[in-house]
Structure formats: structure tokens, C-alpha cells
Amino acid sequence: MLTGKVAVVTGGSRGIGRAVAITLAQAGADVAIFYAGNRAAAEQTIAEIEKAGRKGLALQVDVSMAEQVESAMKEVMASFGRIDILVNNAGITRDNLLMRMKEEEWDQVIDTNLKGVFLCTKAVTRTMMKQRSGRIINISSVVGVMGNPGQANYVAAKAGVIGLTKTTAKELASRGITVNAVAPGFIETDMTAVLEEDLKQQMLGAIPLGRFGSAQDVAEAVKFLASDASAYITGQTIHVDGGMVTS
């Protein structure tokens, strides 16, 4: 399905990003992952990519730093020669009520979750424009659509990602590049493992399909958007949330 393609997955060391990286590799792509600091986890993802018979490359890159992003994309090009798929998945939370939220909590989340998407996208557009093809998939969140108390920074960034997705889609459509977002609901990863049990139970009640999502649920949607099967879809947000948001 993706044989001969090259994918870059940011935040590919753990959670959703890892599942995406492995799933794309199993579909035939060589995959470079960016991670923040967890080398051991990154190497585990690479081992899985190689088990699928594909090439893997792990790069420690802070997606909010333009120079690091640019030189990392150059390294991917030097190793793999092309970039067909970019999955902007790296993300963090720094939850706090708005009135208690520190400026640095706001900045960190906006820098990683929103500016990081801008920088990584910008760094691959030249390559994809020349190739006259490309797939960019941005991981947003259900809360970017619904809002969520205690996550003003995160929600603003995730809503921003949806707007960025629509605009990038329109700018790059004439060059055969599609840009879509995936908005996961409650997915069981390290990010959500820290939440308290009664809050989790309360959230479960708001999910029509009656279960939390898995990283694999998200990875399957990303795989579809990365493939030729989705060629006529661009600027969209696909909700992978068990029915929390319906449109």
C-alpha cells in the first residue's frame, strides 16, 4: 500500500506516534521518527519498524526549533532521498485552569503543538512541491473542537492545528499535496495514563462506543490518509473518538 514511500512521524517514540510509525512501516514505508529525549523508547520503535522489514531512522529533534527541524529534514532526505508523508503528532500537555496558567505553560504547549506543526510542514513543502505529491497529516484533538476546562493552551493549539490544516490544504492542493487532520478522542497512552480514575470513568460515560480508543485506532485513520486511497480528500478533520463529536 505504501511501498517505496518515505514517512516522517514526529513524536514517534511513544503512544500514538509509535503506533503510526509501525503501521506505516507495515504498509511498506520507510519511516523516520522525531523524538524529544526518550532515546530508549525511540529505539524500540525503530526495532519494530525494522521487524516489519523497512528502514527506520530516529532523530532527536525539538519540533519547536526551526533550525533543528530543518537540519533533521535534510538528514531524512540524505538517508531516504524523498519525503512522501509527514505526520505531525508530537504533542505535550501542561494543564491548568486559565486563571492559574503560567505564561510559560501557555508558550510551551503552543510552541510544541502548534508552532511545531508549522515548522515541520514548512520544512517539507519544498520537497513535496518538487515531487508534485505529498501527504501531510496533523494530529489535532477532540478538545480542539469541543473545548475543555483546564486545557486552554492545549485546546487553543489543537484548534489552531485544524485552521492550519485547512489553509495548508488550500495552498498546496494544486501541487498534488493533501493535508488533513485527525482528531482523536480519549486514547490510552502515557498522556492519559496520568488522569485520575474517577475522571476517566466520567469521560467513559461521554463516549458512545463505550470504550477508550487505542493508539492503533488512530494509526489506522492516519494510514488511510497517507495512502493513495484518500487522494480526493483534503482540508478535512477525521474524528477518531468513539462518537464523542458528530457533525
Binding site: 519544498r126 512541491m129 518538487k130 495552498e171 494544486s174 501541487r175
Partner: protein, 77 residues
Amino acid sequence: MADTLERVRKIIVDRLNVDPSEVTLEAGIKEDLGADSLDVVDLIMELEDEFEMSIEDEDAEKITTVGDIVEYINKNK
């Protein structure tokens, strides 16, 4: 000069689907040849490859006619 114009003309004809005779030194890339801003970015990338040079964004913004391109290349290559 003539040689540069020939190579530039070939790229423009290719990218913008215009007739070679339209690509004169005086022709405006957007006004006369119908390029949009993304086409211009595309064209610049193609020129960078063809002439093995890099054209800074600030310089690229000043380019409006085919003659500007030819002059820039001859000065900087």
C-alpha cells in the same frame, strides 16, 4: 545573456504552459505570463536547481519580469 534567457525560457514554458514567444525580457511573470504566487515559488526552486545557486527570499521578492531573472542569474552565478 542569450544563453541564460534560453534556459530560463525553457523552464518558464514548461512550468507556466505559455508560448515561448511570450517569454520576452520585458514580460511580467505574474501580469503577462499568468503565474500565481505559488507558481513563482515553484519557478524559483526550479531556477535554483538549473543554475545551481540559491536565491534568497528577499531577492526573489524583487523579481517581477523575465529580465529580472536573467539579470539576477548573470550577476550572481
